[in-house]
Subunit: 403 residues, 4 copies
Amino acid sequence: MSRSPPAASDRGLEIERIKARLKSQVIETPSWGYANSGTRFGAFRQPGAAVTIAEKLADAGQVHRLTGVAPKVAMHVLWDLPDEAALEGVPAAAAEAGVRVGSINPNVFQHQSYKLGSFCSPWAAARAATVQHCLDCIAIADAVGSKVLSIWLADGTNYPGQDSFTARKRRLEEGLGAVYQAMPADMLMLVEYKLFEPGFYMTDLCDWGQSALLCRRLGPQAKVLVDLGHHAQGVNIEHIVSTLVDEQLLGGFHFNNRKYADDDLVVGAINPYEFFLIYNELAAAEEDPERAIPVEYMVDQSHNLKLKIPAMVQTIMNIQTAYAKALLVNRPALAAAQDAGDVLAGELELVSAYETDVRPLLAVVREEMGLAPDPLAAYLASGYQERIEAERGERTGSGGLGA
Amino acid sequence: MSRSPPAASDRGLEIERIKARLKSQVIETPSWGYANSGTRFGAFRQPGAAVTIAEKLADAGQVHRLTGVAPKVAMHVLWDLPDEAALEGVPAAAAEAGVRVGSINPNVFQHQSYKLGSFCSPWAAARAATVQHCLDCIAIADAVGSKVLSIWLADGTNYPGQDSFTARKRRLEEGLGAVYQAMPADMLMLVEYKLFEPGFYMTDLCDWGQSALLCRRLGPQAKVLVDLGHHAQGVNIEHIVSTLVDEQLLGGFHFNNRKYADDDLVVGAINPYEFFLIYNELAAAEEDPERAIPVEYMVDQSHNLKLKIPAMVQTIMNIQTAYAKALLVNRPALAAAQDAGDVLAGELELVSAYETDVRPLLAVVREEMGLAPDPLAAYLASGYQERIEAERGERTGSGGLGA
Amino acid sequence: MSRSPPAASDRGLEIERIKARLKSQVIETPSWGYANSGTRFGAFRQPGAAVTIAEKLADAGQVHRLTGVAPKVAMHVLWDLPDEAALEGVPAAAAEAGVRVGSINPNVFQHQSYKLGSFCSPWAAARAATVQHCLDCIAIADAVGSKVLSIWLADGTNYPGQDSFTARKRRLEEGLGAVYQAMPADMLMLVEYKLFEPGFYMTDLCDWGQSALLCRRLGPQAKVLVDLGHHAQGVNIEHIVSTLVDEQLLGGFHFNNRKYADDDLVVGAINPYEFFLIYNELAAAEEDPERAIPVEYMVDQSHNLKLKIPAMVQTIMNIQTAYAKALLVNRPALAAAQDAGDVLAGELELVSAYETDVRPLLAVVREEMGLAPDPLAAYLASGYQERIEAERGERTGSGGLGA
Amino acid sequence: MSRSPPAASDRGLEIERIKARLKSQVIETPSWGYANSGTRFGAFRQPGAAVTIAEKLADAGQVHRLTGVAPKVAMHVLWDLPDEAALEGVPAAAAEAGVRVGSINPNVFQHQSYKLGSFCSPWAAARAATVQHCLDCIAIADAVGSKVLSIWLADGTNYPGQDSFTARKRRLEEGLGAVYQAMPADMLMLVEYKLFEPGFYMTDLCDWGQSALLCRRLGPQAKVLVDLGHHAQGVNIEHIVSTLVDEQLLGGFHFNNRKYADDDLVVGAINPYEFFLIYNELAAAEEDPERAIPVEYMVDQSHNLKLKIPAMVQTIMNIQTAYAKALLVNRPALAAAQDAGDVLAGELELVSAYETDVRPLLAVVREEMGLAPDPLAAYLASGYQERIEAERGERTGSGGLGA
């Protein structure tokens, strides 16, 4: 066993490179992360929580203003855009908030007609409504300048025998195929998977393998979306990420964290080392011309107990922490240890980067970006929270259909 | 290895004994199983779903009329008894429906004040409200003739550091201790546990060990409640049941089934052999004077995709199936194989009972009870479903606070 | 909701068809299932356990003689064929035992050189040895008349950073690609996957998605092998099976059962309903000309506590039970319920078949095949066990390298 | 939300206190961690791996010499002390190696007679042998100056019906009760639990609840042992630790880490934040006079791929890292945030300590103890590895019965 040498003499140049990459991060936060939400046992209302899309964009803008790396906002069509007026106001509201629209998320699970599924439903009317809604979403994306259609399906079944796996699979291939064909050539379709919930016996797209085969069938504009909370216990997510990268099938992430199921906690809050290991794969791929493909980094969280905006700021900071540590990995030394079969030396290259306290580095990065070194403290001192609590008060809705 | 002999010559007597035990089953169905419900992604409304407590009791009465073994109805105080009037009407409504009130279930999770917990909350006001609500529930139980207080807590935390495990434990011991002290001498307190949800980092009563130690501390009127969907993957539930029986700590069940988490599917729908193995322990304990203790058999399910009443009838039938098969186990032969260390022979005693088709036996039992041999077919032919759909229509509420 | 009608009037014809399919089953048992084995905490020796390949074939022959559906025997090259002499004796020994050689299983995990993997090892010498051993196995397959090369890899890593996921993936594609190219045109390569063990941080082929993408890359002679014990908790295996069928990627099974991890218990012993649901997919595919593809049904179990041969007989009987119940499913009625979106009715079609006691049917099938109706009883009465215990005694080896 | 103030002005005093506690740590390493080991798929032999107890003690001494906090060595009676001579040589060998004997571990799982269990076996002879072996271990402990009897049982069953849960439970209570009664008044019995393996259907002591109830029954000298790899997926171990502390039932740990099952990886290697959270509970308890009880900190790992001694040094360093970070937690600020119900502020108190790079602090601690600041580098430079490889060579045994 050998251990890597101390930092190379040209570490200074490398630090500049690392800082540059940290500054160029682009993270998308979700509109629904600023609205009231809860579990099936009830939702706890927060004073100041956003209800309208303008409020959600404003709050997202506040997060971007503090962190500098969250310029995009995901929109959930039915929740955010209940009518034409809402849609028409989006570009101006986004501009005013200093953000832009990111992915467009169809909602084909909430209406009563989706009781047995959307694309996979045995009911032809539900399937037709699904396709139509997704076509509408493409038009909406066009209207608001989004190039990403992000597909999460609640399709699944609750009981053995409820429906035919094969029939459902073929309905999905046909329906999503029609949507894919309708996309403009510069639009990306992200295909998410999830082990379970709300289907409790099976989920039609239950794992990355299902999404991968479906994307291969659809075409090169379809890529897999990895939500960190959608796997069975024990699954090695960083390995999946690496595989999708190598197969040119990785499209994006829904960042969050879980201990049990789809818990939607702040990313990195439960297992920060795992999150670092995922970013380690991403950072390695970025540096490899053969594997560098565009990836959408999106947050999918909504907080019941924490205040919405501080929790989102914390989320962005956790992402920066993981990325910064991944960028510190000495890749030549890592590769050398791996090639030599030196198990401990290879591990220690990762551990050494992970154990580094990157808070000072990130403070410098932020200051060089003209930001406060501690965005969370800056938020708490900004008065924004007090203002929205006073202006908006405590309301029960969350906007759109989910109201 | 030896195998058990064919059925003993006195198998006839034994069948009569088995039939008698099947007829004497007492199962409690939940009022909330007749009302609209859903997942956090939305609820699908059913035409005819009950909203008022009178409707819920009527539907439960229908299930009992068809099955003959479901005479009790669990009540969720806030959902079922929003005011004095509702409470006062319960005895008459129950009598008219041909059922009686079973367990009383406090609700100390839905109100905004319970955001950080009930008994375990760091907020003194929330803790005081919790104790007061439970004392009210004791009074309600008294008013409606119930002798069972069934405690499920949503208490838990979402993040490391959110609260002190120890402080929360001691608050729980103190608060629940006060409630325990207020119970009349003939009242039973059931203490449920659950691995996770809605707490996603920890649950204060996360497993049977927590409930068992707490019951030991409270006193002999406190017993553990086992919900079949509240365990980590892989946990051997029948072993827990056996341990609780031997420790005189088993108080009751919430029957349902799951594949992933707390899925609340029809009991026996995902793993019927596991359910048989649980009943195998219960049937064995019933026959052992040293271990026979009263157990509350309660259903805790609410169905989104299946019609409420047929799903509940199916549930009762699945319970009867598991119990009937467990009663068929040749216990002397099983014990002989086990004592001899004959692994395969012991297993085959259980398998032999399980593989038996008990539908004919259950049809006979029902006919001897004056019931239709197939309660599900009888329900479908009864016109009840059509009647409630016409009379009640499709409504959005589920009664009480949950409305 | 409607329920399926009672059995059609032409049920008689259908029963003949079912019996014919039950008689034509072909199951492969593993040579290593007849030899001493154990856990990492020790192995318990059984008197009479097979050591030589001739003994293993003889024992497999005994299982086939009793069940009539187990004519094939899987061979593990290093364990069964330590030298040329062993190999040369196989055809005659198999013929004498009344069985034929099934799949050939390379062993690229036991030798010290495979410490860091086989195809995926960073050590070029290990990779070269792996390819050479697999080429040897192709030659051995040719020599013994086998047309199936069954690949299970122990490749994986124990620690983050130990090796590069991508490098390992590419080494595997290259090495297995070379083996694939060397196969004769009528040989099938089965590619198994496993979540973990002996790799405890990652497994290179960790799930069906990895195997599926690899098979697609290799070519049409490569298919996925599903071992029932190799999934994360909660994974819906019947859904995977259905997907692989529809993608023309299903190659075969390793039957066994587990409660926790890769427990290698008798198939159907822990969750027989799940096993029925898997066979339900297989039976449905068999009846669909579009989806009917050849599948290798192989047992992968080795028993420590149960006697080897009775456990294997029980295994075959459990497979027959699952298959018989799956054949009883009323597929037109099931499809009708599913198309109507009748969740309960669809489920009840499966439950009705599953609840049927098929032991009488299987007894008839066996008698029509000239066999004893209860193969297990027949084995116990045969004197075979007493004979091998007397002749072979208690030995410590298990043959070949594993000795 | 408020955030804790910067470090108090008396941080200097606190650092001295932290350093003192780090210096006073006492960790026990296992004799079997220095010997060859493996998985059920084979063991990879290491040149220089210890075989005799003298070699194991020497290697443990080397680890202690480098780290200063590992003065105790756990012994596995059958593996380490195959005969009287081995036993008699232990005190001198330990003294020469600079270590002392820690816990004594009976082995009641490896002999053929334990096929169906030890204390729980249906075979009276096996039970009697178990009790006798444990009584012998008490005598051995006396002979070598150990005060800790550490009980891990492989007892469990593989199949439903194999044995009676209740009968096994009562046999265990009786047998272990007899051993307990024979212990001198200053001896501690640690009672370990494990979810599964080698039992694959049930384990008699499957979780902390089983061990806790058993310890309560045995008496105050019996305490629960927590092995970090012995839980179901998702279980919150730090919560269990906290509960056991509060119940005065915590006796000790077997440190290791896992991603899947009982993987026995280096502690902290897979989820270092979880390990920190466990130490956070321990550090908090140490500071609370009411909850401070003695705890045995033991490592239970054996490495196949990493070199034995460096892996053990890394293990000790990981423990120090977790402990140091836990000592850095600002407990008054944490308590204040928790009392205020400030979820995010409470969490950030832990995160802030965890994110601190404690390598410089630990280097100072080591230097003040007269040690090299980096024990791993010191080992690699020491020549010890080269010497044992040359002197001992590559051997197949691991000592004693396990040879």
